[in-house]
């Protein structure tokens, strides 16, 4: 088995005196897609932000064997990481073209506009439009397009289907599937149908710790385990990850406010 592209060991994050991550362990396989799962508030986004150094963290983050935990975010990203954040991170006052231009890395390889416009022809038509006036789906296209411009080794997509219409969810999943043929993807996702389609491996977080690691199909085939870890029923047939079972009863239904229905097919 090839060495993982990204290895995270004992990642801890403390923000404002509050321990958010207590020691996350994670491996992202050298190819394909690895999903990072967990209920709302489990620490998925903080883990991603911790990996990238966007929040103060301790532990170890090895990118292709190189320790990066002391690197500044921009230096780490320039080693070949594309990041599409949960809130999409689109610059609303800038045009679509300017948003893409920001992702260019002068001195590195030629930006892959051909690929981006092939995957998202709409972005070419809307190049001069302010990104803040785009729909949620279009903004997500901009966010993902920026990760594809640079020939990155790893794409980190944080809930790329969140809040999108079912049709757009399918489009985003298709793009990520195609991207994963050439680039390794770390996917934070609540929509289990998307996870099932894209991710070969997964890690599940619970309360700021890694609760499970293994093949995605194995986890989703085990309804009891999936319910215990993710708070979902019928995990093998789509659905979304639930909220934390604060009342002591596992959430049985989709809790993601704008996710597709439990039967969404991607």
């Amino acid at each position: 088995m090839p060495a993982p592209l990204l290895t995270v060991r004992d990642l801890k994050v403390v923000i404002g005196g509050r321990h958010i991550l207590h020691g996350v362990d994670l491996e992202v396989a050298a190819s394909g897609t690895t999903a990072l799962l967990g209920r709302n508030g489990a620490g998925k986004t903080t883990t991603v932000r911790g990996i990238l150094g966007l929040v103060p963290r301790t532990g170890s983050v090895l990118l292709d064997g190189e320790e990066t935990v002391r690197l500044a975010t921009h230096a780490l990203v320039r080693r070949g990481i594309g990041y599409a954040p949960e809130d999409r991170g689109v610059f609303a006052a800038l045009t679509v073209a300017e948003n893409l231009r920001l992702a260019e890395r002068p001195g590195a390889r030629e930006p892959a506009y051909d690929l981006v416009y092939e995957l998202f022809p709409e972005l070419r038509q809307r190049a001069r439009q302010a990104a803040g006036t785009l729909s949620g789906g279009q903004q997500q296209m901009v966010a993902i397009a920026r990760t594809l411009l640079n020939g990155n080794r790893l794409i980190i997509a944080d809930e790329p289907t969140k809040g999108l219409a079912p049709k757009v969810v399918t489009e985003v999943a298709q793009v990520l599937e195609r991207a994963a043929e050439a680039v390794t993807v770390l996917l934070v996702e609540q929509n289990l149908a998307v996870v099932r389609r894209l991710a070969q491996h997964c890690a599940v977080l619970a309360d700021g710790r890694t609760a499970h690691r293994g093949p995605t199909a194995e986890l989703l085939a085990d309804a009891d385990e999936a319910r215990r870890l993710l708070g979902v029923g019928r995990a093998g047939h789509g659905g979304t990850v639930g909220t934390p079972a604060r009342t002591g009863t596992p959430a049985r239904t989709a809790a993601h406010p704008a996710a597709p229905t439990a039967e969404a097919d991607v």
Partner: protein, 295 residues
């Protein structure tokens, strides 16, 4: 009529001076969330360096023609260098400690005038300017000092240059993006700290240029000149919308004009109060200022 013309052009000249200080202040706050209370000190440094050079201490520089242009260039360069030094030595080590950062800029803002006083005395020094710019010109019956036009022209050039920089260059693009979401700029692989230093340099250059040619407007330089202008520059930044260059330009004109007209038609000194009233009224109607965005 002639009074109105004179007051208008004097108000625009003063507004131009405010803009030169406020433009950098606004960009620095918009991008870096830094309230730079030392910005007035950068203006004073530019003013004194120009005065020093134009007084014959810098070879080639002088009070007339090309010599004065060289003195202004020298003053602007010294102010720019001071701004870069301020960012690297004082602001950067305190990025994660905003309260200490503000206190540090307040400290520098107090220390620089004190240092200038210690070296050249607390009294105002006559500012040597070119003979050609000390005269007046006639417009609609008013005799308007030429230096007003110099200030207005300088502000217009700086506004245009900043717009071109922000709109046409990659560094400008990074600054505009950084004003919106600094962390995301970093997450795209861009070293935003370089943009910080660049913006400080640009802001310092504009303020120092304001100091350099502000001496023509005031006819003298004194250590507290920059600090006393800073409060109005802050008013301009808040009125224009934090981080908005166009807003700063519009607010500068409004503040300069209101101040001049209120001072002339009411009691001297009431113009300052009128500016504060204007700020309060505007914020009640538009809490984010005139534009609330950049450029």
């Amino acid at each position: 009529m002639s009074t109105v013309v004179l007051l208008t052009l004097t108000g625009l000249g003063l507004g131009a001076l405010y803009f030169l200080v406020a433009s950098g202040l606004s960009l620095i706050f918009g991008l870096m969330d830094v309230l730079n209370f030392a910005h007035g000190a950068l203006m004073s440094i530019g003013a004194y360096a120009t005065w020093w050079a134009a007084s014959g201490h810098l070879p080639g520089a002088g009070s007339g023609g090309v010599g004065f242009a060289l003195a202004v260039l020298f003053g602007t360069a010294v102010g720019t260098a001071a701004a870069v030094l301020l960012e690297l030595a004082v602001i950067r080590p305190l990025y994660t400690r905003p309260r200490e950062q503000i206190l540090a800029t307040v400290g520098v803002g107090l220390a620089v005038p004190a240092l200038l006083s210690a070296i050249w005395g607390a009294d105002a020094r006559p500012f040597p300017g070119p003979e050609a710019l000390s005269g007046t010109f006639g417009l609609l019956g008013a005799e308007v000092p030429l230096n007003r036009l110099v200030l207005i022209a300088a502000a217009a050039v700086v506004l245009t240059a900043l717009h071109l920089f922000l709109g046409r260059t990659r560094h400008g693009l990074v600054v505009r993006a950084g004003v919106e979401d600094r962390a995301m700029v970093t997450a795209l692989g861009i070293d935003v700290r370089k943009a910080f230093t660049l913006v400080f340099a640009i802001g310092g250059a504009a303020a120092a240029l304001g100091g350099a040619i502000g001496g023509l407007y005031f006819g003298s330089v004194d250590p507290a000149q920059g600090t006393s202008l800073l409060i109005f520059a802050f008013v301009v930044v808040v009125m224009g919308g934090m981080g908005s260059l166009t807003g700063a330009a519009l607010a500068s004109v409004a503040v300069g004009l209101v101040q001049q007209f209120a001072n002339y038609y009411t009691t001297a000194g009431l113009g300052d109060l009128a500016v504060v009233v204007l700020l309060a009224a505007l914020l009640l109607v538009r809490p984010r200022g005139l534009t609330g965005r950049l450029a």
